[in-house]
């Protein structure tokens, strides 16, 4: 195991964060440990959240804001999910806007903030004068819904998909007669058709199901005819598994985190973090990183990334590196990536595709041909980073693996954004919903959302993309510090899932400092969380998230006062959920949010229609109302 950034350290008062920032800091500490970055618990002089020190007198501050407009007001995981449309996207196929049930925004913000300071430090080492980077929870959250927002605001046939748009029952995952929830996966209509024929479903219904099934990755809904769910509900899982294997459809049970912790590769993946680094070459001969481009304020300006990626995870990683200033050369097949034409369109390109791939220089290359391979190698010779997400084994088959490329460029960072990591014990396709089911993330989301399985929001593709870009940034920093010459960086969806559940997995794997509630019993939730949740109002939904006693006390006082004004009997000085819900139905969500804001109660209107996001002044600096509503860079550099 290579600990990449030993001797670097973070400083800041991170041991006692506010309850709202506790999950973010827990993830940050976990990531720092895995990178070999130590922790010094002191206040930063500038008031920044933390600073990354990479060499003597070379450090960069990280400012963490709650809101994109940097105005101080209550924020938390739940409020960030509510106000940025994450609950809305998750709610499309889960019966209504609701929290994901995982600390998603906090984890993603931890990844991006650490990536931001690492990138700024690279800039410093290359001669830039960057002193600090700023990121916020809401900017990170918006980044995660960027492609859905593009779809909802595209000029041509925008998608209008509101929470509750699709059935909760008639969608994957499916459930067998013996009560096993499971996901199916295939990207090919023929195995799908053969599978359903074997199950006894007619071709027309299977075809309708295929249309719905294909919508999952793009639209976060997967409406399938009820006959499909009913046909599987009368078969035992073992038989369904057999039929899937016979017809070439992948199948994965929705496993618990306890199941995942039992896997042979779980401990190593948890310890290493979501990246695996492999360093080679004689450091003495390493070419220093190119100096910073003085004309750009961005820390990776002047560096070149060559990307050969499809779909979401890999392209998002390239997009993030581009937002840090790198020139990204995107290799597409002759004729261009077919997803460029996927509606809804923003002029001549798919809005969703553009959200993930804009600002990249496209080169159409047939990478399977000898001439194409030579063209790729010519690009690699001049590049700093190569990034791909090909199917396992493809790189070696095409002669474009790490060893092949480092022969033409021994100073290359070679990054793979894969599905499962190197030691997978199965042959499942590396796609988001398979990884959610396998990793325990789906089970965790299911428990919180009242579903049999995970989210149809691409939870792991987005986090996996951020983790891949972060791994590349860490590797570039190691290169800038002269710690390595060529570096291979492997990241995966499963690694992203491990990061998302790092605390619970740490406990299940009996790691020191992680409390195992499975052994000593779950502690009762604190009383001040008893009213947290999403409530209906006279118009719209309201999210409440009290994370300490003071906030809870403010909430109960505000509700008691409002109830008295509205002449509602709460039955008690401390309302329970039922009475609170009854009271909240007397006013609109907007009105309650305004009242609670004045009282300092952590509350927010749940955004249900994504087109409303661009009208929220709190989010304005993170969004750009162009031909569609674009999400800006999650980082600012000073």
């Amino acid at each position: 195991m290579t600990v990449l950034l030993e001797n670097c350290y973070l400083s800041g008062s991170l041991r006692n964060p506010t309850p709202a920032l506790a999950p973010l800091y827990a993830s940050l500490r976990y990531q720092a440990n895995a990178l070999g970055v130590a922790w010094e618990n002191v206040d930063t002089e500038s008031g920044a959240a933390f600073a990354l020190h990479v060499a003597e007198n070379v450090y960069v501050d990280c400012v963490l804001e709650g809101w994109s407009d940097a105005v101080e007001r209550p924020i938390s995981e739940t409020l960030a999910q509510a106000t940025t449309g994450l609950m809305s996207v998750h709610g499309r196929a889960s019966g209504g806007a609701q929290p994901l049930g995982v600390d998603y925004v906090s984890t993603l913000t931890a990844v991006l903030s650490l990536q931001g300071v690492m990138a700024a430090a690279i800039g410093r080492l290359r001669g830039a004068s960057t002193r600090a980077t700023t990121t916020s929870l809401t900017s990170s959250a918006l980044l995660s819904v960027a492609q859905y927002l593009a779809g909802a605001t595209a000029p041509e046939m925008p998608e209008r998909l509101l929470p509750g748009a699709a059935s909760v029952q008639e969608r994957p995952p499916f459930t067998s007669a013996d009560g096993v929830a499971f996901e199916l996966e295939t990207l090919d209509a023929v195995p799908w058709r053969d599978f359903w024929t074997q199950v006894g479903v007619d071709a027309a219904s299977a075809g309708k199901g295929w249309n719905g099934f294909l919508l999952r990755y793009a639209k976060a809904i997967a409406p399938v005819p009820a006959t499909l769910c009913e046909a599987l509900a009368v078969l035992p899982f073992a038989q369904i598994e057999r039929l899937a294997q016979q017809t070439g459809v992948a199948i994965c049970r929705v496993r618990s985190l306890q199941d995942r912790a039992q896997d042979k590769d779980a401990m190593a993946m948890w310890r290493e973090g979501p990246w695996r680094f492999h360093c080679d070459g004689d450091i003495a001969q390493a070419r220093p990183l190119k100096p910073c481009d003085p004309s750009s304020p961005l820390p990776l300006a002047g560096l070149t990334v060559v990307e050969s990626c499809r779909r979401i995870q890999g392209p998002l990683a390239g997009r993030l590196l581009s937002l840090l200033g790198a020139e990204v050369i995107r290799i597409e097949p002759p004729g261009g990536d077919p997803l460029r034409g996927m509606p809804p369109m923003a002029e001549d390109v798919s809005a969703r595709f553009d959200a993930l791939n804009r600002d990249k220089n496209v080169r159409e290359i047939d990478i399977k041909s000898a001439a194409g391979k030579a063209e790729v190698m010519a690009l690699i010779q001049q590049a700093d980073v190569f990034l791909h997400n090909w199917a396992p084994g493809k790189a070696a088959e095409m002669g474009l693996d790490y060893d092949d490329m480092t022969q033409v460029n021994p100073d290359l960072i070679y990054a793979y954004a894969g599905g499962w990591g190197e030691n997978a014990e199965h042959d499942l396709p590396g796609t988001d919903f398979m990884a959610q089911a396998y990793s325990g993330v789906a089970a965790k989301i299911a428990a919180a959302s009242g579903l049999p399985g995970g989210a149809l929001f691409t939870v792991l593709d987005v986090l996996g993309g951020a983790v891949a870009a972060q791994g590349v940034t860490a590797a570039l920093l190691a290169r800038g510090l002269g710690r390595a010459r060529s570096i291979r960086v492997d990241t995966s969806l499963l690694g992203a899932a491990t990061l998302l559940c790092a605390d619970e997995l740490g406990a299940l794997l009996q790691q020191p400092g992680y409390q195992n509630h499975a052994l000593d019993g779950e502690p009762p939730p604190p009383a001040w969380t008893s009213l947290n949740g999403v409530y209906a109002t006279a118009q719209g939904l309201l999210a409440l998230d009290c994370l300490d006693e003071r906030a809870f006390s403010r909430l109960t006082h505000a509700v008691v006062d409002a109830a008295s004004e509205l002449q509602i009997d709460l039955n008690d000085d401390t309302p329970d959920r039922e009475h609170l819900q009854r009271a909240l139905l007397h006013r609109k969500a907007q009105e309650w949010a305004a009242l609670f804001e004045m009282s300092g109660v952590p509350a927010a209107v749940v955004v249900e229609d994504l087109t409303e996001l661009s009208r929220d002044p709190r989010l304005a600096p993170a969004l750009n109302k162009d031909i569609y509503v674009r999400v800006n860079s999650p980082w600012r550099f000073q």
Partner: protein
């Protein structure tokens, strides 16, 4: 549907290669006639009437490449 593609090829040379190979539609491409995927009907022999809507869409997925390919 086969005839439609042949006619498209005359008007837009090269399009056929983008849609099919060896007489079959590419695996990760979906062709719909009035919202019905032709693979669940008569495939390239699916009949097309005047006024029918034909949609050609690539499969969208997440994650990395499919090992089953």
């Amino acid at each position: 549907m086969r005839e439609v593609i042949e006619n498209m090829e005359i008007q837009f040379p090269g399009v056929k290669e983008r849609l099919m190979a060896d007489g079959k539609v590419h695996r990760f491409l979906n062709i719909y006639v009035n919202d019905d995927d032709i693979r669940f009907a008569e495939n390239l022999d699916t009949s097309v009437q005047a006024g029918d809507a034909i949609t050609i869409l690539p499969a969208v997925a997440g994650g990395c490449g499919d090992r089953l390919r």
